[in-house]
């Protein structure tokens, strides 16, 4: 068993945005008993002992936690590299200065499109201008800036404009990440999945930009797995390199794993070390012993680890099956059908999108968390 390198600390699922591609769980209300500051302090210390080196502070919108600077300071004091993953709504100059003083290392700001009205429409709230202002503050305070754009059918044609915007704001990195279909994104998949022609056009633009910007800005492009022959090496293997702690203290190999029918493990009931080593949610798919065919006999089993367990579960009802994205999967037809629909001439232009809700207010801590809806 390896030590994890990264902790994704999902501080809250509350969010000022309402993006339909959000991968947060559908049952957000079950996570409203958020961990208190001291509980996060303990989690961070235990994560450091376990070998975690990087702490990604995410959500929802982590800035909605009033104790964010305290959490950052604790992670920094423990020697962790801290990364804030934010919509930037609420990243005022004083707040940014406070986080800088607390030792925050890196800021990643999402934007929904290069054009204000389109970005605001996708985000479900006026936010574009504030995001651009916040990007300026981040650069001014001397932080490295990553601009993150989740790509989907309604913005992928604007990728050239997005790259220009990232250049203008002085981003050090830009992440163009095609939507991954979990949580709200899966619910909205048919409306979000781009066509093959859209993807080809975007790739041409990205390739040219990479060449042009190669000494100035890192351009990271995350391919949409629905269009890949083989599945993604999800999380570098189940419970191998990363772990996630959800707002209420559940520990998972990845944020989407909350949807799987595995017993929950919580930092409120056990130590991170024991959970990482022994809890069924971590051991269920660690390594390659769990694999069925075609993965078990496949040369790529140590390359892609059978793909994503959550995607397998969501599409087939069985988390132990080969990721249906793989063309060798007996369930590949499920993915092929969605891709076919996205490319059909008869497809309607704009399918309706269900926005994710902003989330519920945190409830005071209760001794036992509410039972999880499945």
């Amino acid at each position: 068993m390896d030590s994890p390198f990264g902790l994704l600390a999902e501080l809250t699922y509350r969010c000022p945005l309402a993006c339909a591609y959000c991968s947060n769980p559908l049952n957000m209300a079950d996570y409203s008993a958020e961990l208190a500051t001291d509980e996060w302090r303990r989690v961070l210390a235990e994560a450091g002992d376990l070998g975690v080196l990087q702490c990604h502070l995410s959500g929802g919108e982590p800035l909605l936690r009033r104790d964010l600077a305290e959490i950052v300071a604790e992670a920094h004091d423990l020697g962790l590299y801290t990364n804030l993953v934010t919509s930037a709504v609420g990243l005022s100059r004083p707040r940014a200065e406070q986080l800088r003083a607390a030792g925050l290392d890196h800021v990643q700001i999402s934007i929904q499109a290069d054009e204000p009205a389109i970005s605001d429409r996708i985000a479900g709230t006026p936010s574009w201008r504030r995001k651009i202002e916040a990007m300026g503050v981040v650069k001014e305070l001397g932080w490295p800036l990553t601009v993150n754009v989740v790509l989907h059918r309604n913005n992928i044609d604007r990728v050239a404009g997005v790259l220009e915007l990232a250049e203008e704001v002085g981003a050090d990195r830009v992440e163009l990440a095609n939507t991954q279909y979990y949580g709200w994104a899966l619910r909205n998949r048919d409306a979000l999945l781009p066509s093959r022609a859209q993807l080809r056009a975007a790739e041409v633009v990205v390739r040219a930009a990479r060449e042009r910007l190669r000494n100035r800005m890192d351009v990271i492009y995350v391919l949409p797995d629905y269009y890949s022959r083989y599945p993604k090496p999800c999380m570098g293997g189940w419970a191998s390199r990363q772990l996630t702690v959800t707002p209420n203290g559940d520990v998972l190999p990845c944020p989407a794993a909350q949807s799987l029918p595995l017993p929950r493990a919580s930092v409120r009931e056990d130590t991170l070390e024991r959970i990482w080593a022994e809890s069924p949610v971590m051991t269920a798919f660690r390594g390659t012993d769990w694999m069925p065919n075609p993965c078990r006999s496949c040369d790529r089993r140590e390359l892609d680890f059978g793909g994503c367990r959550c995607q397998a579960f969501q599409l087939t009802g069985d988390a132990a099956r080969t990721d249906p994205v793989c063309h060798l999967s007996p369930d590949h037809g499920l993915v092929a059908k969605a891709v076919e629909a996205a490319n059909a001439d008869s497809r309607a232009d704009a399918l309706p999108l269900i926005p994710r809700p902003h989330g519920v207010r945190p409830s005071p801590r209760t001794p036992t968390a509410a039972p999880r809806r499945r």
Partner: protein, 102 residues
């Protein structure tokens, strides 16, 4: 020393009088769990070996490339100058190391 990256500039424009320094978004640390030196990047962790960490420690904006090569040669008879220069070139291409002409 470091995972090689595709598409890096082979020449790299690395001159012996350049004074490399770590980019500000990069941090060199030591992992006590793994007992190995570590290079921290925004989304990546690179586990280094001893000579890789030594080179990066000398990337302080004061030592020139020539001095770093000489120092590594003195510490490890097995690390040729070309390897040190290639290592630095790759890190410059990945924007982990910045160059200032000394």
């Amino acid at each position: 020393m470091y995972p090689s990256t595709a598409g890096t500039d082979p020449g790299g424009g690395l001159s012996t009088s350049d004074t490399p320094r770590l980019a500000r978004h990069v941090r060199l640390t030591f992992c006590r769990t793994r007992q190995r030196p570590i290079l921290q990047l925004p989304e990546t962790v690179v586990v280094l070996n001893g000579s890789g960490a030594d080179i990066l420690e000398l990337c302080d904006g004061r030592h020139t490339v020539a001095e770093i090569v000489a120092e590594l040669g003195a510490r490890y008879q097995t690390v040729p100058g070309d390897e040190v220069r290639q290592f630095l070139t790759r890190l410059v291409a990945r924007r982990c190391v910045e160059l200032a002409d000394g």
